[in-house]
């Protein structure tokens, strides 16, 4: 058994609020093996996004330890920090907010490649950009389009390509599909899954949709008010929750089959 890619130990995030302080993350620990997907479940204010930002060193007021591939992330200095920034990245919920509206998709990717010195010439950058677009399921001719000409799902694909093109191995996806329509959400979730399987990407998936977690995550942690209240294999936790809060989340999640069963009976053909 190889060492885990990510080890988080007693991580704490504290914000200043007025004269006092607020503890957003209150001592979270976990390990994540290479090529696995950890689901972080929680509602707003649970500290899940603060946790993500603290891991990627995007947050001040952090205490505790984060080890990535054996390195102490909080102690990294250039150029090791830049290497870490390439290997560990974040994908956000709102795909349009994280793309420059004035750059064509291909130029945006090529720029990232050039900044990180991964392509020597413009031509090489453009060629690499096109091939990354194909990796995420977009035809190479999308390189010539602006973000506003793309649908939400296509933009999310571009964001993934941008993270992958500089060599991301570990991705934190913060509600990556909650702004997308149902039919497109399924396409993107399938893409995330295949990136995990084919390219060995390690994921931390943040969200509130338990059914999405069931499909994507190997393990889950459930957070409430900055602390982990339940953890385990996704299949176990979601089928047999122990903590009252996890049970409440499960009961509250809208579910077509369960709702119809409660209101009248009869089997569903799509079941």
């Amino acid at each position: 058994m190889s060492a885990p890619l990510l080890q988080v130990e007693d991580l704490r995030v504290t914000y200043r609020a007025g004269r006092g302080t607020v503890a957003a993350v209150k001592g979270v620990s976990f390990e994540l093996a290479r090529g696995r997907c950890l689901g972080v479940v929680g509602e707003s204010g649970s500290g899940k996004s603060s946790l993500a930002r603290a891991i990627l060193r995007l947050e001040d007021g952090v205490a505790g330890r984060v080890r990535f591939d054996g390195q102490d992330v909080r102690a990294l200095k250039r150029p090791d920090l830049l290497a870490f920034r390439r290997r560990a990245q974040m994908v956000f919920q709102d795909p349009i907010g994280s793309l420059n509206p004035r750059l064509k998709v291909g130029s945006a990717l090529a720029e990232v490649l050039r900044v990180h010195r991964l392509a020597k010439t413009r031509g090489a950058a453009a060629a690499q950009a096109a091939s990354w677009l194909e990796t995420v399921g977009l035809d190479a001719d999308y390189a010539g389009r602006f973000p506003h000409e793309l649908s939400g799902g296509q933009r999310q694909r571009v964001n993934l390509a941008r993270a992958l093109c500089v060599g991301a191995e570990f991705l934190i996806a913060d509600e990556p599909v909650s702004a997308l329509d149902v039919s497109v959400q399924a396409q993107i979730l399938n893409l995330l899954k295949s990136l995990q399987e084919r390219r060995g990407i390690t994921w931390m998936l943040i969200g509130h949709d338990l059914a999405v977690m069931r499909h994507m995550a190997d393990e889950v942690i459930v957070m409430k008010a900055g602390a982990v209240v339940e953890r385990g294999a996704a299949a176990d936790v979601l089928a047999r929750p122990v903590h009252a809060y996890t049970k409440e989340l499960l009961a509250a999640a809208p579910n077509v089959g369960r709702a119809l069963d409660r209101r009248g009976s009869g089997p569903a053909v799509w079941d």
Partner: protein, 325 residues
């Protein structure tokens, strides 16, 4: 005694509060050309019933809702079909029909107390006993300490409490129809469940006709009585909520299969492609480029809504008589 089915659903036009027939909304470009945003929408909203309009973004559900109350954005006009109130009266928005929207934080004015904002929505004849009426409204939406809420500013309330306050405001004018446009989409799941329960209670207790706009089929299955699924500006399938068990239209089937499930894992069956934007809607059946069942006729001619079983209708060449599904 009105005829009802096993679920206590009222048949026919009985209890109708508002009927919309053949509604069409056009978008007018600079050169005056009309693009159809939604078309051929038939709806019957009934007292004490929740009717849901479901679909993905760009399908026209919010535009249909906005058209009912005269809230269409600039450049669009309701220029086809008609809206009839069952009592024959004509009503402007705000009285007969009120709205609750997705983001209560954006609808509330941050510099006024909740009390100030509800007071403004009270009909003139009730302003004399405003305080009493406002506390009554807040109790109706589940607040146990109405006096404290009345004195609060919006930022002092949580998202769920803000949405309750919006509901209180919507009820102030004693509407017959409440349009709830994605009322729980911005809320956490545990809060969402409470607001949905409240909506269902209000609809029953106040005999409201609720039009629920939602993209989440789970939410719809929780509280809707009737469902209309829209695709690219048209209703493609209608029926009692039970129809979600056995939808006929390939789009509706695809939507349900695309949902991640708590007892499932592995790959999801999505629908290829995405909803076509306005101006790029294909000829024939608008779903045909994404439809696994499409044939020649689907590319050439748009299917109309046809009855298929009790109170159900579907617009699909492959379904029903002469179909191949």
């Amino acid at each position: 005694m009105k005829p009802t089915d096993l679920n206590g659903r009222v048949n026919g036009e009985a209890d109708a509060v508002l009927t919309a027939a053949g509604l069409g909304v056009g978008f007018f470009a600079e050169d005056g050309r009309r693009l159809e945003v939604v078309g051929d929408v038939d709806l019957v909203l009934r007292a004490g019933r929740t009717t849901a309009l479901v679909g993905e973004s760009g399908c026209g559900k919010s535009i249909t809702a906005a058209a009912l109350g005269g809230l269409l954005p600039r450049g669009m006009a309701l220029d086809r079909g008609e809206i009839r109130w069952a009592d024959g009266a004509a009503r402007g928005p705000g009285r007969g029909l009120t709205y609750v929207f997705q983001d209560p934080g954006e609808c509330l004015d941050p510099v006024f107390t909740i009390g100030n904002q509800i007071r403004e929505t009270l009909p003139p004849e009730e302003r004399g006993r405003a305080r009493e009426r406002m506390e009554e409204l807040l109790r109706t939406v589940g607040f146990e300490e109405p006096a404290r809420v009345l004195a609060s500013y919006p930022h002092q309330l949580s998202g769920g409490m803000q949405q309750r306050a919006m509901l209180a405001m919507a009820l102030a004018g004693r509407p017959r129809v409440l349009v709830a446009d994605e009322p729980t989409t911005a809320l956490d799941v545990t809060v969402q469940a409470k607001i949905l329960r409240l909506l269902a209670d209000l609809q029953r207790a106040e005999r409201l006709a609720v039009l629920l706009i939602a993209h989440n089929l789970g939410v719809v299955a929780e509280i809707a009585d009737e469902v209309h699924v829209m695709y690219a500006g048209r209703i493609v399938e209608s029926g009692p909520v039970d129809m979600l068990r056995q939808p006929r239209h390939p789009y509706v089937q695809g939507l349900l299969k695309a949902l991640p499930r708590l007892d499932g894992s592995g790959r999801l069956e999505g629908i290829e492609g995405s909803v076509p934007p306005l101006g790029r809607r294909p000829a024939g059946c608008r779903f045909h480029p994404r439809c696994p069942l499409a044939r020649e006729v689907c590319r050439e001619k748009a299917p109309e809504m046809r009855a298929c079983g009790e109170e159900r209708a579907v617009a699909c060449w492959a379904c029903g008589e002469g179909g191949w599904a």
